[in-house]
Subunit: 357 residues, 2 copies
Amino acid sequence: SRSIDLAVIPGDGIGQEVVAQGLKVLNAVLPQDVKLETKEYDLGAQRWHRTGDTLPDAELEALKGHDAILLGAIGDPSVPSGVLERGLLLKLRFAFDHFINLRPSKLFPNTATPLAGRPDIDFVVVREGTEGPYTGNGGSLRTGTPAEVATEVSVNTAYGVERVVRDAFERAAARPRKKLTLVHKNNVLVYAGHLWKNTFDRVAAEYPQVSTDYLHVDAATIFFVTQPERFDVIVTDNLFGDILTDLAAAVTGGIGLAASGNVNPTGAFPSMFEPVHGSAPDIAGQGKADPTATVLSVALLLRHLGYETEAARIEDAVSADLAERGGHLPGPAGSGGGAATRTTDEIGDALAVRVAS
Amino acid sequence: SRSIDLAVIPGDGIGQEVVAQGLKVLNAVLPQDVKLETKEYDLGAQRWHRTGDTLPDAELEALKGHDAILLGAIGDPSVPSGVLERGLLLKLRFAFDHFINLRPSKLFPNTATPLAGRPDIDFVVVREGTEGPYTGNGGSLRTGTPAEVATEVSVNTAYGVERVVRDAFERAAARPRKKLTLVHKNNVLVYAGHLWKNTFDRVAAEYPQVSTDYLHVDAATIFFVTQPERFDVIVTDNLFGDILTDLAAAVTGGIGLAASGNVNPTGAFPSMFEPVHGSAPDIAGQGKADPTATVLSVALLLRHLGYETEAARIEDAVSADLAERGGHLPGPAGSGGGAATRTTDEIGDALAVRVAS
Ligand SMILES: CC(C)[C@H](C(=O)O)[C@@H](O)C(=O)O
Ligand SMILES: CC(C)[C@H](C(=O)O)[C@@H](O)C(=O)O
């Protein structure tokens, strides 16, 4: 009989609430014969305040044993900026070599978008997850003095760039439109830019069926709002991917709907699925958070573990729910949906009912 | 009697066309007693193909002697990416210590925006211009092999950050809404982020009349499309500023309307004014480019040189022209306006007539 051994990190703020709905829908969609085991890990701001721990070795080790990780949100204003992000979230992405940060963007029917004309948006950003300016390389000299120098080093390797570029070509080749756009800034960041562009062009020769395109990151933001329908698959660097996927979320119904997967396709470590949004402490505990992004992240998790039917069932349920009810909750960054007509729990319930039937 | 000694670098693609209109409007707006001298510099792709030069020392030296520089656009697909950007455009910004990269964004009446609901947009981005990931620090090891490592180093100094932050506070204090937002990514880029945030907070204490705010760059892109009216002045790093100002241009009528100034407020070197858009080789020489961004850059140039009345006259003319004619040219990145009902020259003529009357 089949089983899923899932680690759950609710984290901070609305993390707890949205993860509860994600698990509710997961339980509802799984066939009877699949045994779901979950283990909750108490990590995040409260733990840090209590013990000073962000992610101790023992827990990192224990997390390795699971099939996958579901994460809510990490971060709180009471914790100095960077402590939990670097010490917990990014530590997990790096330790488990999540080199594919997968972020689909789709404008569902009847969903609010700030764009006039409701363009037909359906693309996926394949964001590199283990390199670029996220490595933590850099430092600061004469800190706090008028002579301070602070550096951040973006590290890019042929090894790291090639594997994410290959993954993106595979994904593009498997989609109907078969189009892949590289986004970088190779007219300014010439060293990293040339590595990315040369790798992209070399791998492209192996995928003649995929049409390719290059855009500077600044120009890409323009097309995200003027012609988002032109994109199919986008491959990009860790930082550019971070920026572009928030913008993508904003134009496709808001950050309350944006799912993501931190994927290690080799299976050497568990992959981790989380909504793109943050912990939104301002609305935490009030039943105002839209759990849809977490529910859609559960769909990505299921697909990753081979449960394609169940993943599609969740996505169809979200699509139907939005089509019928529209005006979802405003979402953590206040960026999406219409009137907040349903609570977090009500949306979770509605989706659970849909996937079960 | 007064005089302006202007260096003109038309550059590549549509650069020549739009600069011609900028000069036309400049001539029309200047009072009789102001003597305008212009000297054209042949720099850009053609020069590079002919001689291999990007910006020779003698010309750099000669440029220093002018009151200001008007630049069209730099870059052509026939030149390897980075050669002209680093060797000419960025070389000028760095050599002349243009630490304020000023980029106003205003949604003029009757101007097309991809945003539903036509929000009231009127903010200015103060982008740092001489540091960050633009310094050219970095390199590549084992280039072209499977063991390649390429780095880009973002360099941030207390000296560089404080001067741009102070400038931004001054600008915010002089505006009716008196609001300044710092945009960075201090939860990941902790070294540079802390320098920026600490400097910002320290200088803020000297400006109690200015209300302040901090946003991560990814979240900022969300607000650019969902609540752009919340911004007044934004101060940010060189790369984040590059990305955000293209997005800002996209939501305020397109890159065909976006002006910029590379300013050295000390006056030690000439400041340089240029449209945000690129050389758009696809539409070059066809009279399709919208010269408005260049004309608005001329307004920034005049304001910098102390001709406030004339600067305002140009801005009013653009506003009136757009209000009456609307649907400007699509703009270099195909991102703005409505139907292309007028040629580059016709728009320049219309603006010249307006500022003269
Ligand atoms: C919280 C932060 C470290 C994170 C990132 O920058 O990757 C977030 O913005 C995201 O996109 O998942
Ligand atoms: C052409 C390029 C070097 C430049 C930049 O990145 O600054 C441009 O995008 C801009 O915004 O002026």
